[in-house]
Symmetry: C2
Subunit: 550 residues, 2 copies
Amino acid sequence: MRQYEMMELVFPGKVPEGSEASVDLSAVFKKGEKTWRVKGFYAGNGTYKVRFLPEECGTYRFEVSGSVLEGPCKDSFNCEPAKEKHHGPVRAEGTALRYADGKNFTGFGTTIYAFFHQSQALIDETFNTLSKAPFNKVRLCIFPKHYNYNHNNPKYYAFERSEKGKDLKFEAEEGSQVAPNSSDLGEGGNNWDVHHPCFAFWDAFEENLTRLADLGIEADLILFHPYDRWGFSSMPQEDNLVYLDYLLRRLSAFPNVWWSMANEYDLCRAKTLADWEEIEEFIASNDPYRHMLSNHNCLKPWDWARENVTHVSWQSKQFQRVPELLSKYQKPVLFDECRYEGNLPESWGNISGKRMVQSFWRVMSVGGHCTHGETFYPGSEEAKKNTDTGESEVVWWARGGRLHGESPERIAFMRELFESFPGPLAPSPMGFSALVGKSDEEVLEMAKLAPKGFGAFLESIASMGTSERDRFICAEPTYLGHVGEEIYLRYLDTECCIVTTMQLPENGSYRIDLIDTWNMTRETVLSGVHGTVEVPCYGREYCAILAVRE
Amino acid sequence: MRQYEMMELVFPGKVPEGSEASVDLSAVFKKGEKTWRVKGFYAGNGTYKVRFLPEECGTYRFEVSGSVLEGPCKDSFNCEPAKEKHHGPVRAEGTALRYADGKNFTGFGTTIYAFFHQSQALIDETFNTLSKAPFNKVRLCIFPKHYNYNHNNPKYYAFERSEKGKDLKFEAEEGSQVAPNSSDLGEGGNNWDVHHPCFAFWDAFEENLTRLADLGIEADLILFHPYDRWGFSSMPQEDNLVYLDYLLRRLSAFPNVWWSMANEYDLCRAKTLADWEEIEEFIASNDPYRHMLSNHNCLKPWDWARENVTHVSWQSKQFQRVPELLSKYQKPVLFDECRYEGNLPESWGNISGKRMVQSFWRVMSVGGHCTHGETFYPGSEEAKKNTDTGESEVVWWARGGRLHGESPERIAFMRELFESFPGPLAPSPMGFSALVGKSDEEVLEMAKLAPKGFGAFLESIASMGTSERDRFICAEPTYLGHVGEEIYLRYLDTECCIVTTMQLPENGSYRIDLIDTWNMTRETVLSGVHGTVEVPCYGREYCAILAVRE
């Protein structure tokens, strides 16, 4: 047994007579004063399993019990220190993310919604691509996805069909372009027998989870979503909880899983707010390891202030709001969907590589995390590079394949830079973001503390009214982050200054590097500087200034 | 006398004994039932003038009276139809701008704040530049400007000095970098004798106004501003009104003048809101021709809903809000300051040509008007092209000189295109802008009218709350304008679609042109189309689709 690696106990047994999902099997693991309670699951083929993820070294005692066993089972094991590359689950620490072993995690995500629902050839190609790509988190769905350019049925589903669903073909209608599907309104809600998991599905799914872990990639698992023609989005709530129970029994002990309650929860019309809150509470109380847990919106943000929610998982193009959100929620801020590099007709999927890279820098230079996607229109000349499998309609963002956009190389350059920092970036108190949401009276109070020369500016901004002021502030971003007094990073975005000023601590000596985030160059331009420093710049877009304490 | 050309009556007289500004001289012009009342002014050198701008052809009778004359003077004149190129003052007509003769005016502005306060060589160079540039409106100040890269004293000031100001040198302090000046708080407020205009200043000013008119350029005259070391920004309010009275007597009959009450009114700390409202009312009631009148902000927008205000004159980077503002104010919307093409340290003055052109398209493709500026850092290699006069610190945005940025050529391309349209663009009802400022209840009502497939989207957006929704909408712009059913123009901005869809009327036949706004190309890709049309695109940024009714 190794720290941060899943251990598994296997028991033979009879096939359950009723539910194969909600079996009576649980275990208690103890180490010193600490206790972990986990549930086991039926794995098919007369086999029961109990999984556990040890995060501490040393001796654990455990006891497994349940009516599916012939009798209780007790034993102990010794957990050895982690091997290199095993860092344990990622968790929030204040506004930052860290692996369990304390290593900083900076989220360079990508999106492959239906990754595990593809042919083995395509899955293999995707893993091969990921092995060379700069991403350390992938957003992917448990259930298959029905959407533009996503019309194939998967090989397996998470559950066996119900009587009602037995003969359904689930073929996509010709040319069906999809807004959230009408099946989502409950008409298709009983096609599945959640008490009979499809074990082949889960086995394959877990194999792929492990392949991700081997590449050092977190699996941000999307548990529900509205783009559906199979009926998974409109199962009764009691079925949802059975499904979640089974999923948590099987997957919680994987070190690299995150729980994303939904992709675009607010478009899932079959679920009420109370359903979502019950789902959130169910996950939080049935996951012994407190994996990352959040919910992702289309339009209306989830209430990330809720106690069980570990981080902000926002679909948004409001890159300027990272400091505001960090301050508001005091949790890590992930832009889990902005737009994707590609050339689709849809505006969410047709930005240039420049824009994709710019989004990463806008979000991450002030301490947020960002998620990529690639969407080249099937049939376009460019999309011939989407896959070598010969399959049609392969678009990375949903199905994987090959990456050939301009952004991944630049994101790799960025990741190497960010991972050289001694800790997580946080926003520097520059710009107006501290004023967001404040009343005129509050801003006027803050204005009194400002240097004299700024009085006129602040008195004016104090009189704008909250709504107009908030929108103004969003249009006036400053992308300045720091790691304590070790690192100051200013992303210049569209500023083409030929010279600018950096404010550094008076005590200390800094080296200044100019970074061209697009051309991927880094050059030291000053050293031994402190205080107010005039920095010569390149006079072109997409550069950054990095001050490193010497 | 010609329609749309200023006529001038000149009277000899004694030098006024008291005020040379507020002289007793007025005239009534009559044509049929219509009457115009204007005031004359003392022009120095024992000369009085009365000016009038006839906008209708035909016979006018007039009577001039006042204690400065030896007796009243009556006469009449016949006004001949306008010569080509004379279109009269620009005025608002609904949300559009038109010259008095009905010709459409689309505002392609530029910014040369201290244009007329420069050496004759630099002024001449600037006019030469303007003669080849695409701009039809210039924002410029009556008073000189003190700011970064603006340290020279002008040759003349609008008034003679007071006793107090007699010996002041007004030299800029070494390296003075300027936020709104402290003199603005009233300390320097009595340096000028507004009752004694400097006639040489006004004569030169008017000569330059006429040179602008000859180039077909509107003069958006900035009457006050905070960037001051001479004391003009902090004159007593009664002096402000004497100044405005004299200005209006002299300049109102120029066809190409606009009144911009201020540049950044909200930073003029010596003036209260009541002062501004009095200024606004004074101008409106003393300008017989109702020239364009607005007020320009730094932060807090002026209340453009006020009756005397003819248009929105906004400093802002919130390009997405043009449809919202057009709908809210029902007046023309001018982005009179966004950012300037250049490489200054200051973020307002260091965007690329690409960004400048993008701003124009974002604002103007949906029926707004936009203002350019160029700001290459003095001393930078690039800035050697700023002027051939040999003068230092010449930056176009304040002092004029030469343009060498990348945007003017593209703005020229754009202007030629826009001026080929049969009328002013207006925003098409696409995107979310109609929801701005609405309550959740109001949005929910609107959602009920949406097509079924959009229900989930609209129900979610309806529950966001006004503040979050407004900010969301600002991040989701659609740049689609139209001229009736004649023209549909969609600016694709950062969208790199290889194909997209246009909704055209079912009745009618359209030609579709693809426009590359940066590379300045235009190519017909479809013709004879109507209804829902699939348009092949270039798959790169900064393109536009133009549908022209055949």
